[in-house]
Subunit: 240 residues, 2 copies
DNA sequence: CAGTATCCGATGCGATACTG
DNA sequence: CAGTATCGCATCGGATACTG
């Protein structure tokens, strides 16, 4: 844990609570609705399990995180206390700043297809899906190549690294970097389709409604705003 | 420097820029008008000089800080770029949160009289002072005891650990913890005076105008708001 | 599934000393 | 005044193994 700065200052004290490596990303995950240890781990590729446990204990001691017996299934569930929930303002400020000033071209190894699907999983708009189950296959190409699956069974969504067994309803072929750009609002989906960076195959009705199945990243508008400031030509404002 | 999280996410990328230990406190200092290496060090007691230099280089590479030959005197001056200035929103969010949720009773060793005067130095309201020079002597008691001096010569203010040689215009005797409480808005100066936690000696005119010489901490209102939430009795809203 | 335990190599941090 | 150089230690990151 970050040792004390020895300053009685709100900024310093806050930093002692949430300033350790990984801590703010753990809180980001929890703000976006993750409650289980293994799900937190999935959203934080590379974090050692032992460190995740240590951070959760620290945040619990500091009154930011609580833990309770899981409502469904066994094991523990973590939740944000009121103090934790109010860190939303910090995450927002940091994310908006990052979108504007620290969001240059991604490194190839920063484009993780599984992580992207993991993010999309939490942003499914169930009302737009209108089906008991939809199975999507994503075929990514570009720097990294691979196929992954998203099974939407409202109100559940699963990310699969292996074919889920069900028939595929919709296939999305996409250049991974371009798909990230769509996710962050830098590239409109329509434009990506027109330029062949993303292709969608399947029944016409599904293809037509697909653009409304997902909300973009929470920071898409901030990223787009920064982009508009840099270049003069801003992409259109909606995914569809 | 904090190594990459390997995530193309605005929060993660921002954290990689400003998430290292001390970085946000360096930026806090610069937002409050500090530009010189040695002044930064004074505002960050305990930071190794080598680490301060390293952080400044990192922040410069990341486009948050710039450096230039000093306008006055010799040496280098550091300044915040536009990107750095916009970190104000992050510092505010963090400080407001810290004031509300991480600002319990101070540890004795967190009450540093020199640091407090260093903060006050930047919050002098020159218009209220109305003198070519005012010399204040602070006699702190309580857990730690000691005398320090503040020399206000608009637009300059100096913190001295030794008697500055000039005649003393005003003497402030104060319990250090109580004076910190006043600084953060937890305790009204009038109340502190009434309870004998702070005493001011000097010419009546100066004693009377003293309460307007300093603005409180930037986070005083947030601290007070948090206090009002906890206990029902909120101290009055102004220092005077 | 949800962690804890342990080990090891890398590096971040802090303390001290030194330089132009 | 404004840094740099060096060194030891604590912590972190990563891997592996183990437990209820």
């Amino acid at each position: 844990m970050m040792r004390s700065y020895g300053q009685y200052c709100p900024v310093a004290k806050a930093t002692e609570v949430v300033g350790d490596r990984w801590s703010l990303l753990i809180i980001r995950e929890m703000l976006y609705g993750t409650h289980r240890f293994n799900e937190l781990e999935r959203g934080l590729p590379g974090i050692p399990r032992s460190l995740l446990a240590q951070r959760l204990r620290h945040l619990e001691r500091e009154g930011v995180v609580g833990r309770c017996a899981a409502a469904a299934g066994r094991g523990t569930e973590y939740y944000l206390t009121p103090a934790g929930q109010q860190l939303q303002a910090v995450i927002d400020a940091l994310g908006n700043w990052g979108a504007a000033w620290a969001f240059g071209e991604p490194q190839p190894q920063e484009l993780d297809p599984v992580l992207l699907l993991w993010w999309m999983r939490r942003r499914v708009n169930f009302e737009a899906v209108q089906a008991a189950r939809v199975v999507l296959q994503f075929d990514f190409h570009g720097r990294s190549t691979g196929s992954y699956w998203l099974v939407i069974e409202p109100p559940e969504v699963s990310v699969c690294l292996q074919p889920p067994g069900f028939d595929i309803d919709l296939r999305v072929r996409a250049e991974l970097a371009a798909f990230y750009q769509v996710w962050f609002g830098q590239l409109a989906l329509g434009e990506a389709l027109r330029r062949g960076l993303v292709e969608i195959e399947g029944p016409g009705l599904l293809v037509q409604s697909f653009p409304r199945w997902f909300a973009l990243s929470h920071f898409a508008s901030a990223v787009r705003a920064a982009l508009a400031r840099t270049a003069d030509s801003a992409p259109p404002a909606t995914l569809a």
